[in-house]
Subunit: 346 residues, 2 copies
Amino acid sequence: MKSAVFIKPGEVEVQDVDMPKIEKNDDVILKVVRTCVCGSDLWSYRGLDKFSDGKKNNGHEALGIVESVGKDITTVQPGDFVIAPFTHGCGHCAACLAGYDGSCLNHSDNFSSNCQAEYLRFQHAEWSLVKVPGKPADYSDAMLDSLLALSDVMATGYHAARTANVQKGDTAVVIGDGAVGLCGVISAKLRGAKQIIAMSRHEDRQKLAKEFGATDIIAERGDEGVKKVMELTHDNGADAVLECVGSELSTKTALEVARPGAKVGRVGLPHASDLDMAASFGKNISLAGGIASVTTYDRQELLDAVLSGAIHPGKVFTGKYKLADINQAYQDMTDRNTIKATIVND
Amino acid sequence: MKSAVFIKPGEVEVQDVDMPKIEKNDDVILKVVRTCVCGSDLWSYRGLDKFSDGKKNNGHEALGIVESVGKDITTVQPGDFVIAPFTHGCGHCAACLAGYDGSCLNHSDNFSSNCQAEYLRFQHAEWSLVKVPGKPADYSDAMLDSLLALSDVMATGYHAARTANVQKGDTAVVIGDGAVGLCGVISAKLRGAKQIIAMSRHEDRQKLAKEFGATDIIAERGDEGVKKVMELTHDNGADAVLECVGSELSTKTALEVARPGAKVGRVGLPHASDLDMAASFGKNISLAGGIASVTTYDRQELLDAVLSGAIHPGKVFTGKYKLADINQAYQDMTDRNTIKATIVND
């Protein structure tokens, strides 16, 4: 089968590799319908993170059709249409029961990879896969994109909003205008925030942020950006801050724009150096967040919200590619020619 | 009047100083009935923190009788018996309204000092002082100690429990067996924790922790202590962690014993170096906490709980001194001969 293979920074190639097969009793093999490129994939593509060698890719988001199942699998069967979350919770440990399946205590191999391929081995599938009614052919292209967003970015944006404890009537700041940040805007709105301030420098993303519910846009970064937030919040700072980048600057900004007692929900993979946590002590800021609870959120609320048309997270996919052209997808995201790239398999 | 004066590490002296006077319209002058020495005072006494020069002391906890009031004061009058919180919130900014008066947005001079004296100038007194019914003579010695605990340690322990979000039925770990940690045990119990694991190395404090509601005691620290907590929690970690020390080791331990998705409520003045926040991202740990909301908690729940005899935080005061003997009080706390020292004025 064809699979994207990470060669070196700046180069992702499609190669023929062995078909994945059932290795453990709770494995499922999926035929990948759609996959995509994540902002976090770009860290290694840009040479900023190391990526392990081998016939692998970073892809961890997919929609698929169940091809075959391990003998312990009772929840899905061949032919089922599923969202393949990037997390693989067990559903019954203390972490999963508390709604943190992204930090499942039973599965050390809790994350997807190699989704940028024709087929995918999905480990620990029994609880974690999310069934979608019907077949891919029953849905519009736009709806399929929104369903694909439920494998990561929409759930991750929601995790930022949940861990920032966005409440009805709140003022929320969303830092980052990547796909996750934009889904953070959707999530803040879904949870009832009254004022949603999106920190975004790019016109196309500002437009989408507004469409998703942002009431204010701040293009400035760093101290200037903080100043603007304080002006918009009568010098109080925000009730909730969604940190959707993970850089040192974005984390610092998040702590600075939070009002005393506010929660920062961070979902950007942390690339900050160590943080000075004394300043946040003085302001009583809570720094929360981490790996999203994809299966939990999809089942609780997000799948229904997508299927009913209440939210349209698929709009973050602004470029569509075939698997063969995946290097161009990576490059276009790196160059910010597209917000997020969908890979549509035949 | 007499006042304790910090001379140098290891030396606190009682000197004659000028009587404090009303300097601003929202000042109140208090005749100090009882004050005490705080664990945080010891950082400078032990030479670990710098203390500014001048005729000053670190004391920030007191019970007092109102002596005189500035012209904007409407809430208390001379003769009133009050708890003097170490925080001085305004009561109406976004921080105070959210229940974080320890991080009041209007008062940059939000903390007490110079309480170890016969009289005290209490700034921003209009909202922040907490009236106690009757007069000191109406109360037992034990009750006066419990009321004194409401000026800091009991409220600070409660802040750890609140920001760790201790819920009914939870397993809570309390790190630190100083007065604040012990009040953290009281608070975890008050909020309904089912299992309360106190990390304490000293026999007298272990005993008090058990009296306050601890179900388990762990004497080990560091990796050994973490291992014991994991054993007691079936390898899950705790639902809530009260970090009542502020050192690098205690903060690290707090993050390690928290189950995925748990909250660490930290109230120990942070003396940790910068923290590696990537590990807590993987576990979805929330690091919350900071300066307590003394006035808020006293009014909401704690004063009633003390007056009704539901809680007895005054038991943390195990040594009683006159102001003239305050250096001995500091020394005895440093040597751990007493958990917390009360200074009783004539």
